[in-house]
C-alpha cells in the first residue's frame, strides 16, 4: 500500500500543500483552514501534519516531545481531529476533516506541489502493510474497549 513520507527537514513552510488540498476537495476554493493538511511553523521549525481520523475524547495526558533538542507539543504533531483542538475541522463548525488520500487509488495532490520533496509518496512492502493493518485493527479494538 502507498503511504506519504513526511520529511520535516525538507519542509520550507510554504503551505502549498494546504492550498492544493483545499482546491482539490472544495470546488474553486482556497482555504487553508479547510485543508486536511496543516504546516505548523514554530520558530526555526516547520512540520506538515496530515489529518487523521476524528476522536471524540480529549487526551487525559498532555505530552511534550523533545526531538533533536526541540520541544514539540504533541498536540501539534498528532494527526487526530478532536474536541479540544481547533485544527482539521470545518471553520465555525465541528465537522471533522480527514485526509482521504485524494481517492482510490491514492493520488495525493499535496505531493505534486511539494517541490522540495518534504512530502513524497512511497510504496510500502506487503509485510509491513499486513503488520500495520493488524496493529491498526488491534489499536482500534483496544480503544473501543477502553472507551466502552
Amino acid at each position: 500500500m502507498a503511504k506519504i513520507k513526511v520529511d520535516h527537514t525538507k519542509c520550507t513552510g510554504c503551505r502549498s500543500c494546504e492550498l492544493i488540498c483545499s482546491l482539490h476537495h472544495i470546488e474553486n476554493t482556497f482555504n487553508p483552514k479547510r485543508a486536511r493538511i496543516k504546516v505548523f511553523i514554530d520558530g526555526e521549525h516547520h512540520y506538515p501534519v496530515i489529518a487523521g481520523p476524528y476522536t471524540d475524547a480529549e487526551c487525559t495526558a498532555k505530552n511534550t516531545v523533545v526531538i533533536a533538542g526541540h520541544e514539540y507539543d504533541e498536540c501539534e504533531l498528532c494527526r487526530a481531529s478532536c474536541p479540544v483542538k481547533p485544527v482539521f475541522k470545518e471553520p465555525g463548525e465541528d465537522i471533522p476533516l480527514k485526509c482521504d488520500f485524494c481517492g482510490d487509488p491514492p493520488d495525493p495532490q499535496c505531493i505534486k506541489v511539494c517541490v522540495t520533496e518534504a512530502l513524497t509518496l512511497i510504496e510500502d512492502t506487503e509485510d509491513t502493510e499486513d503488520k500495520e493493518d493488524k496493529e491498526d485493527k488491534e489499536d482500534k479494538e483496544d480503544k473501543e474497549d477502553t472507551e466502552g
Binding site: 503551505r15 492544493i20 482546491l23 482556497f30 481547533p86 465555525g92 517541490v115 522540495t116
Partner: protein, 606 residues
Amino acid sequence: MDGWVGRIIRVDLSRGDFAIEDLDPYQAMDYIGARGLGTKILYDEIDPKVDPLSPENKLIFMNGPLTGTGALGGNRLVAVTKSPLTGTVTCPNSGGHLGPELKFAGYDGIIFEGKAPNPVYLWINNDEIEIRPAEHLWGKTTNETEDIIRAEIGDKWQAMDTHIACIGPAGERLVRIGAIMTDRNRALGRGGAGAVMGSKNLKAVVVRGTGAVTVYDGQAFKETTLAVLEKVPPGGGPVAEFGLLAVGEVGAMFGILSTRNFQSNVFEGWGNINMTALKSQFLVRNRGCFACCVPCARVYRVDNVEGFECAGEGAEFETHALLGAACGVDNLPAVLKAGYLCNNLGMDSISMGGTLACAMELYERGYLPEKDVGYKLNFGNAQALVELVEKTGLRQDFGDVLAEGSYRMAEKYGHPEISMSVKKQELPTWHPQAVQGTGLEYATSNRGGDHMKAFVLGEELLSSGGPEIALKTEGKAAMVIPAQHRNAVIDSAGLCTVVLAIAQSWDFESLTSLLEAATGAGYTQESVELAGERIWNVERLFNLAAGITGKDDTLPKRILEEPQLSGAWEGHVNRLGEMLPEFYRLRGWDEEGVPTQEKLQELGLA
C-alpha cells in the same frame, strides 16, 4: 468577482472608527489589483502635493486577485503611499503570509487615513475589527511587538494562525527609510512606508482569518499552476539552495556588484559574505513564503561570533550587497547583525546600506568631519556599520542625520552628488554604468532608485547577443518599457517577481491565463498589457502632480560622467541621454516626460 473577496476596510485613525466598503470590480479589473489599484485609489483620494508625513497622506494596504491563491508566489501585499523619501508614490510589497491572511479574513485591502491621537493597532479577526490602544507597544522593536501581541492573544492555536505587520522604533521616529515588517522578517521596505505608518501613530496590523479565496475556474487554475511548477528547477534550483545570495554570484562574475559607494564594481571581500560563507557558517534552514516552492529566505543564527549575536531570517542578497560590498565590509557576522537590526528596528536595508556607504565616502573625502560621527568612518569599518544602523533606527547622535537618507545627508554636507540615488532613493547593488538598460530602468523608475520595477538585467547580460548587448543603448527603451509593464502587472496581481522569473513564467501570456482563471473577468493578453501601461502612467501622473518631473529621470553624476569600472567594463559610463528621448517617445510622452492627451485617452486616463 472571483479572486477577490470584494471588501475593503477604510480606517479613519483621527476619528477612531472604520467602515467596510465594496471593492469596485471595474476599477479592480482596470488596475489588476495591489500596486495598480492602490495607486489609483491614492491618486484619486489625496492631493499629490501633501506632506507625506501629514495626516492628509494615506497608507493603503492592498492585495491582488492572486494573493492567497495557490498560484506560485501568490503571497504579495503592497503598501501604497506617498513616500517621505522620494516625494513620489511608492509601492513596497511583502511576501510572507500576511496578505493571504487578510483575504482569508475577508478583506482585499485596508485604507488608513488621518492620524490617531495616541498609538493604536488594528485588530482583525474575521468580522471582528477593533482599533486597539498600543501605548504599551510604542518603542518596542518589531520582534518584541510580535511577541507581545502573540502573548496577548492567549490561545495558542489562534496565535499561531495570526499574522502581523508592524513598525519598529525607526517608523515611530519617522526615519525616512523606515520599513513596515511582516511576519517578523519580511519587509514592506522601500520608500519609507514605515515612517508614514509611524506618522499616523499606527503601530501594527494584526490579522487572522478562516475564510476562503475562490477562483473562477479551479481546474484551469490548477493546470496552469502545475505547468508553472514544472518549469521550476528541481528542488527549486540554486536560489532554493543558497537563497537570493545565489544571484550575487552572477553579479560578482559579471563585475557589477557596486562597491564602496559605487566607486568600484569588484568587491574583493565578497567571498567572505557570499552564499557559501553563509551556508557553511550560520545557516539554520531555508524558508519559503506562502505558496512558494522556492525557499529563498535563510533562517540563520549567529551565536556570539566576533562579538556579534543575532538570529532571524534574511541574509537577502541586496542587504549583503549594500551593507557589505557598498560599505566595503566583508565581516559576515557584522553584515548579518546590521541586516538583523534593520529588520528589528524596521528599516529598508538597501537604503540603509546606501546611506552608510555615502557617509563613508563623505568621510573619506573629508566632507564629513569625524566629530559629527563620533569616530572614524572609513569603508570597511564593521563596528561602525553595526552601531550606526542601530543609531539610525533610534535617531540617536549621527543616526539622526543618517535617518534622512543619503541624499539629504549629502546635501547637508554640500555634496549631494555623492548620494548614489535616483529621486532621492538609494540605488540597488547592480552597477548601472555599463549595463545601459539597467541605468535607464533606475532613472525612470516611478519610485526612485529601484531594480524591481523592470529588471532587465538578466536580459541584458544573458541574452543571446552576449554581454556586449549590455553596453548598447540601442533598443534599450524598447526593452525596458514592456518589462516595466510586466512587473507592474506582477506586483498588481499579488505575485512575487523573483519566483516567476525563476520559473520563467513572467510573460504576459502566463500572467493572463492565471488572472483569467482566477477572476473570469475577461482578461486578454492585450488588456493585461494595457493595464500594465495604465498603472505605469497613473504613477507618473501622481508624480508629476507631486512636482517630480522629467528632470528627475536621471542618474547620479558619477554614473553618467566618471568611469568607475574595471575589467571588461573599463572606461564606460551610462549614456542615459541616448536612451531617454526614445523612452519618452515610445511611451507616448512629450519631450519633458509628460504623457500626451492621446496616450491618456488610449489608457482611459484622460
